[in-house]
Symmetry: C2
Subunit: 285 residues, 2 copies
């Protein structure tokens, strides 16, 4: 099984090379127009948006961020091991002022579409992989979708498919993959995930004192990185998941050849357990 | 596929009933001799130990806890999305004073052994399920093993299988299931996981300033709950994973019949994404 996967990955890399001229760059610079700086009282978080997968959600979210819509909003639904959700006060005029979005839970892939495959016969999909740093899955049709992993940013909604507007959540626990395709994922945390993990939980267990809503973690500010003064910007590069380096990393991660692995684990990879690394670029180029 | 699973689960429940007279109790009281209170500067955490699965590790860990061995130790290796590891200073006389343990990565199951099955054809194992609140997996032999999930407590080790002594880690990210069977899991967090998630990370990304070791989160104290003064005890009950209630919960979780699921997710369950709930019992009985 392992050898077969190796060949599969090698072939995928060759085809990615053909399709993408930057495939040999191991790191990728973020587009500052699609990068958000989230400031919390306890730390700064950088988010990469995904307009290539969820254009309408990114467009609306970016416009809201641009007009400081979220500044002062609270993380009002934070469940350990699940999600940290924020937004304006439910039912407020601010809340109602935002247009409803049609769901963008999956996207159609062109015939020559390439991605970095990770695993076949994943529990929730025929295949998983990465594209532009985002974990995704696909079945055997021409459809693919971003998957819920820790750090995923998605829009909350009501019971109807097309009911999201401005409330969003970060995944803070084991991947709730059952939400794949039925929610719109439109970004992911690329820096400062530990600060998202430190957001005050609002959900308590039976017998425990309720958390006072005044304790809920506020959003100090949320800005597009282009709107942040140059000397306050956090400039991040992320691994290019379509690069040869990343492909080799997947092969190594699957092989577990370090002597620590005195007995080899199954040669499978959970796409949400493969880290896509970031690095901090101190000075703007 | 869903109907087949339903029947499977129903059968499993019937057989569990036959094997276990307390199967109808939805909640289970913790044995205070196998419960640990971990006090951090920012909160209290309760851990349930698993002597039924990893007796030698629990015996040694409990003895260390009893003599306040860990008080003042630091979480010196904390990697976001992976583990928070603590122990005495590496190579110190305290560190070397502790006997080496033989690995207890899996256990043999008796012929009439029962558990609450969750999923067949999991990515890493033939079957997953729960026993006594612990997530586990098994293949088609008479062997089973506890699985790494968020909140899992396991002993760290060197490259050799039998090299663990006192350093331990909590899983704080997506389940690193590739460590199953080759590490000894001997407990899990049943209360206060958000405080484990708030432990200071020690691992930084390229370009970032290193975290000063004086910032590492210390263990204020770690005590067996029986050694905690009665009025300071945190008494927890956890869901009885072999109960009819829990079995029904699994069926419901798989079915996703709430109208929020306007389109049904695949009828599969990731064992690490099934919460085993706790509740706080305010007064000791």
């Amino acid at each position: 099984m392992f050898k077969k996967s190796l060949i599969l990955l090698a072939l995928a890399f060759v085809s990615a090379c053909g399709a993408n001229e930057v495939a040999d760059q191991p790191w990728r610079t973020l587009d500052l127009n699609n990068t958000v700086l989230l400031t919390l009282l306890h730390g700064k978080v950088v988010i990469e948006l995904a307009p290539q997968f969820s254009p309408k959600h990114v467009e609306q979210f970016s416009a809201l961020v641009k007009k400081s819509f979220y500044d002062g909003a609270k993380f009002y639904r934070v469940i350990d091991g699940f999600v940290a959700q924020a937004g304006p006060k439910d039912g407020s005029s601010k809340d109602k002022s935002v247009p409803i979005l049609a769901i963008e839970g999956q996207f159609t892939t062109a015939k020559n579409w390439s991605f970095a495959p990770v695993q076949n016969d994943d529990l929730f999909a025929a295949t998983t992989g990465f594209k532009d740093g985002f974990a995704l899955a696909r079945d055997n049709s021409d459809s693919a979708w971003l998957t819920h992993c820790p750090g995923t940013l998605a829009m909350a909604r009501g019971n109807e498919a097309d009911s999201a507007s401005s409330h969003f959540y970060f995944v803070i626990g084991q991947a709730p993959r059952y939400l794949d395709k039925i929610m719109t994922i439109f970004g992911r945390v690329v820096y400062g995930m530990q600060h998202i993990q430190a957001i005050q939980r609002t959900s308590v267990i039976a017998g425990e004192k309720a958390v006072d809503s005044r304790m809920h973690t506020p959003i100090v500010s949320m800005k597009l990185m282009t709107d942040v003064p140059v000397n306050e910007r956090l400039l991040i590069e992320v691994e290019n998941t379509e690069s040869a380096n990343f492909s080799e990393k997947l092969v190594k991660r699957r092989a577990r050849s370090h002597e620590f692995f005195y007995k080899k684990p199954p040669s499978v990879l959970d796409v949400c357990q493969v880290p896509v690394n970031s690095r901090l670029v101190k000075l703007q180029g």
